[in-house]
Each structure stands twice: as structure tokens, then as C-alpha cells.
């Protein structure tokens, strides 16, 4: 793979474009343990890929799945898209989950177990309402199914 000078990089540093293309994958690995990107993790990624810390920050901050702040062990992302709204989901699900956990969107429970977030459309509009918990998608949500999901997660050690 030929290397080339990538504009915007530090002081004309030579960046290997093939290496750079690994950045998103590297960031996923870097935040797997902690759930978010620590300063140290960013620095390690930058060093490995021959980038500056600020280049890594700048790229990571563009993407919502990379987090700069700590999150709970389980991240709940409720879809607030149009089709979920038309199916009595969206805010209604946010309120239901929020009331059960005692948090609002953007917040984490005091025991560090759950973070509640809202997202736009999870490509599950035909099986709305939908939400994601960590890497799993839950469709056709009802109060009963939400109860089940949360109880199972609370019981997990």
C-alpha cells in the first residue's frame, strides 16, 4: 500500500491511508472495555495509527456511537422516529422506561447500570415501536415486553 500525505495531519506527518481506514474499527475496540473513549484510549489509538490525538478526537466526535463520557453498563436507545411515534412508541416508550429506571434521556442510573438515550430510526419501522439495548434490537415493544427486558437485565450479574 502506498503512503501519502494527508492534508490536515500534523506537521506533514506521513499517514498510511490503509492504517487510517482502520480508525473506526480501532475506536470500537478502544471503547469496548469501558463503554466510552478515555483520553488514554484515544492516545493509544492515535499512536498505533500514526495520527495525532486531536485527529482521533475530531473523527470520533463525528459519530454518535463513540462516546466521550462514561455510560451505564446497559445503554438503552429508544427510537423516536416517525413510524415508532405513529405506533404509540417513541416518547411513550421513553417515558415508560424512564419512569421504571428513574432517569431521563441522557442520564445514567446512580448504580451505573443503565443509560437512557433516544435515537432516530432503527430501520425497524415495520415492527415498531423499537429500541436497542447494547447491541440487541427489540421490536414490537409493549409495556409487558419492556418489563421483561428490564427485569432480565437487572437480574444479570
Amino acid at each position: 500500500m502506498d503512503t501519502q500525505n494527508i492534508s490536515g495531519s500534523n506537521e506533514g506527518a506521513v499517514v498510511d491511508p490503509a492504517k487510517r481506514s482502520m480508525l473506526l474499527a480501532a475506536l470500537y475496540v478502544a471503547q469496548e472495555q469501558t463503554g466510552y473513549l478515555t483520553g488514554d484510549a484515544v492516545h493509544q489509538v492515535a499512536k498505533r495509527l500514526g495520527l495525532t490525538d486531536s485527529e482521533v478526537y475530531s473523527t470520533a466526535s463525528f459519530y454518535t456511537l463513540f462516546r466521550m463520557k462514561p455510560v451505564g453498563r446497559h445503554v438503552i436507545q429508544v427510537c423516536e422516529g416517525l413510524s415508532c411515534y405513529l405506533n404509540d412508541g417513541a416518547e411513550r416508550v421513553v417515558e415508560y422506561v424512564g419512569a421504571k429506571l428513574g432517569i431521563r434521556p441522557g442520564e445514567t442510573t446512580s448504580d451505573g447500570m443503565f443509560t437512557l438515550e433516544t435515537v432516530q430510526c432503527l430501520a425497524s419501522c415495520g415492527t415498531a415501536p423499537a429500541m436497542r439495548v447494547n447491541d440487541r434490537l427489540y421490536e414490537n415493544l409493549s409495556p409487558a415486553s419492556i418489563d421483561d427486558i428490564l427485569e432480565r437485565l437487572m437480574g444479570e450479574v
Partner: protein, 413 residues
């Protein structure tokens, strides 16, 4: 109701549909065997003659795009768009999760036709199961000799890798996707140069949607004429329509292009819930103009929807019944686009935010007539003045709703 044998979705409901053994049992990779014995130019001619147009939203003729790929360039790439994020759309996720080999077979044939030896699969970060299915499908294809060196003894080599996005709708736009594949912020590039000239790492790159690619094996096996016999004059073949909203049976329906909206809604999707009437329909995903119930006889095809003032987009039909609050619908869609603006150009970034402020006020009942006028003025100003087509997508719902349902906005002030 007209009966149609599913083609693109024939496999998805079979048990273990995602496995290579299932795919092979029903004739999988036969098209690849056939294609590898055809000269690449013949394949391109066949795809051109089929009339296939891109299923990712823009509807560009696929064979023509293949022909744009420079024949003499030593290094070329194929990029597979699995970023599906247009609100209302949920077809690509279905194919990736349940029938990844149908796409992969299309990928290999397309790469062979354009002379690419490397393909990049870009997949939306949220599609965790899809990522797993893509990776498994690719590794099984290597094991069976459908990927790697000298594929099926043809002398053709191809490597495919999977790359996860990380939560950014704009990365579905082809040039933003290339930036993201290169490990950068997903900001769209200026066009021209088009990806076919300068794409991934500045090399000629063919970008294709997942549903488009899944059509390729069928066109190779059944022939261009089979495909061009289905559909309308300018919209050929079968299309997966994603139906959601206030219908009794939401879901993916594979039907010929040109099927009337009312047939899709009333016959396939089971009609409107509680027997209510329709107020509005979004025919092609959140960025296509909203239409009223009067348009339900419109055939779902590129040219007919364009004539009706809207667009086929991704074929995502969102049905809203007579009780729907259109101010809230528009506020919600606008909030999506504002959230997803990459922030690089002013009309989209700032104009979008201003539009949302007016919509929030109107939806909350604290707006005035001036808010409606400002909203319309802003939307008109953003249209056509943004760096990439997302800005236009952002204002279409606003402008169409103000045209069709203005009284609902007026009642709120």
C-alpha cells in the same frame, strides 16, 4: 390481489435462511458460475438492458454506472452501501440479516464485471446482527472458493472486507461513506469528480446499494428481458416496499415497480387501522415530499411519483391516518435531519436549526403566523443551496406539508 412469486425475498422466510448451505440448496451461486463464463462487457450490457435502477434512493441506471468505471484503470473498488438510515426504510437490514449471500453473490458478479479486486462493505453501526451475518457470509464464501484467489477456477480474484459505521445518517451518502471508509469524519465530498472517477483512496469506485446488488444474480440467471418485462416504461423490475405507520400489516412487500400505492396499502398491508381514512402518505422515505390521500392511485414508479411531485426514494411508504397531527409529523422529521446534519454547510446546519425552532413553537401552540411564514421562507432558501442533497431532503417534508396541510399549521397559532 395479483399474486407474485417473491424473488428477492424468496429466501428470507426459510429456516436458516442466512446460512450458505440453505442458499446453495436453492440455487445460490449458480448465477456466479454463469457470470464467470461471460465476458465482463456482456454482463454490463445485460445489466444495462435489464433497465435496473439503483435502489438506494437516487434511482441511477445501474448498468450505465458500471460503464462509467474506467476500463483501463489498474486499481478499482466496489463499495457496498449497507448504511440504511432513511426513516421508514427497513429492507436492506432484512436482506443482510436473512439472506446475506444473495447480496454477496451480486457483489462478486459486479466486481467481476467492472474489474474490481477489492470490495468494501460499509454497514450501519447499529446493525449488530447484520455485521455478524455479513462477516459469516463472507468467511463461508471464502471457504467455498467464491472469494479469494482464482474464484471457481476463473482466474478472477476478489477480497471483501466489512467496515462498521458508527451512527451517522449522512454516511449513507456515497461520498460521505467513502470518507468514513477512509477513517475520517463523514463529510460529503464535492461532485464531480464522481466516485467512478475518484472514490476510495482516489481510485475509481462503484458504490451500490444492497437491494440493487441482490437483483444482479437474478438478472444474470433469468436474463435482462425477464427483468425489463416487469414494471413500467422507466422503472423496471421488482422492488421491496417498506410499509409502516397506521396500517394493519406493516412490513416489506416485494412487488413490481408500478404497483399502485392503494394496492400496496389496502391489499398487501391490510388497509388502515380501525378502518380510518388516510390523511397523508410519505411514499419514499422521510426525505421525499408528503402526498395526500387523493394520490393513492399513483403507481409506485420513478416517473409517476416524480410527475406527482414527489419521489420513489427508497420505496419506504409511511401511511398516516386522518387523525394524524401533521405539524408534529413535520417537526419530528425535521428534528431528524437537523440532528443528522454533518454541519459542514451553513444552509443545512443553521437553516435546519431555525426551521426546527419555528416548528417547536408551532407544535407547542406558542407560535404565530410569522413562524409559518419564516418556516416557509427558510425552507425555500435552503432548497437547492446545500452542498449535498440532504438539504433538499430536509425541506421537502416541510414545503409539501405547508402546501397540503397549511390549515393545520394556521390552526396552531
Amino acid at each position: 390481489m395479483a399474486q407474485h412469486q417473491p424473488v428477492l425475498l424468496a429466501n428470507v422466510n426459510r429456516p436458516d435462511s442466512e446460512k450458505i448451505a440453505t442458499y446453495l440448496r436453492y440455487g445460490g451461486y449458480d448465477a456466479l458460475r454463469k457470470a464467470l463464463k461471460m465476458p465482463p462487457e456482456t454482463i454490463i450490457a445485460e445489466v444495462k438492458a435489464s433497465g435496473l435502477r439503483g435502489r438506494g434512493g437516487a434511482g441511477f441506471p445501474t448498468g450505465v454506472k458500471w460503464d462509467f468505471m474506467p476500463k483501463d484503470a489498474p486499481v478499482k473498488y466496489l463499495a457496498v452501501n449497507t448504511d440504511e438510515g432513511e426513516p421508514g426504510t427497513f429492507k436492506d437490514r432484512l436482506i443482510v440479516e436473512r439472506d446475506p449471500h444473495s447480496i454477496l453473490e451480486g457483489v462478486i458478479i459486479s466486481a467481476y464485471a467492472i474489474g474490481a479486486h477489492r470490495a468494501f462493505v460499509y454497514i450501519r453501526g447499529e446493525f449488530f446482527l447484520g455485521v455478524k451475518r455479513w462477516i459469516k457470509a463472507i468467511s463461508d464464501a471464502y471457504q467455498h472458493g467464491f472469494l479469494g484467489r482464482d474464484i471457481l477456477g476463473s482466474g478472477f480474484d476478489l477480497d471483501v472486507s466489512v467496515h462498521r459505521g458508527a451512527g451517522a445518517y449522512i454516511c449513507g451518502e456515497e461520498t460521505a461513506m467513502l470518507e468514513s471508509l477512509e477513517g475520517k469524519r463523514g463529510v460529503p465530498r464535492a461532485k464531480p469528480p464522481y466516485p467512478a472517477q475518484k472514490g476510495m483512496w482516489n481510485k475509481p469506485t462503484l458504490v451500490q446499494n444492497v437491494e440493487t446488488l441482490a437483483n444482479i444474480p437474478h438478472i444474470i440467471l433469468r436474463g435482462a428481458k425477464w427483468h425489463s418485462d416487469i414494471g413500467t416504461e422507466k422503472s423496471k423490475g421488482l422492488k421491496i416496499f417498506c410499509v409502516s405507520g397506521h396500517v394493519n400489516r406493516p412490513g416489506n412487500y416485494e412487488l413490481p415497480l408500478g404497483t399502485r400505492l392503494k394496492e400496496i396499502i389496502y391489499e398487501h398491508a391490510g388497509g388502515v387501522r380501525m378502518g380510518r381514512g388516510i390523511k397523508a402518505i410519505i411514499p419514499g422515505g422521510a426525505s421525499t415530499p408528503i402526498i395526500s390521500a387523493e394520490m393513492v392511485s399513483t403507481p409506485m414508479a420513478f416517473e409517476t411519483l416524480q410527475a406527482a411531485g414527489t419521489a420513489l426514494g427508497t420505496g419506504a411508504v409511511i401511511v398516516m391516518d386522518e387523525t394524524t397531527d401533521m405539524v408534529e409529523v413535520v417537526r419530528r422529521i425535521t428534528r431528524f435531519f437537523v440532528h443528522e446534519s454533518c454541519g459542514n454547510c451553513l444552509p443545512c446546519r443553521v437553516g435546519g436549526k431555525r426551521m426546527l425552532e419555528h416548528l417547536e413553537k408551532l407544535a407547542a401552540g406558542t407560535g404565530s403566523k410569522q413562524d409559518i411564514e419564516d418556516l416557509e421562507y427558510l425552507a425555500g432558501g435552503i432548497r437547492g443551496r446545500t452542498f449535498c442533497p440532504m438539504g433538499t431532503g430536509m425541506v421537502e417534508p416541510v414545503l409539501s406539508a405547508l402546501r397540503l396541510f397549511r390549515d393545520e399549521f394556521v390552526k396552531r397559532v
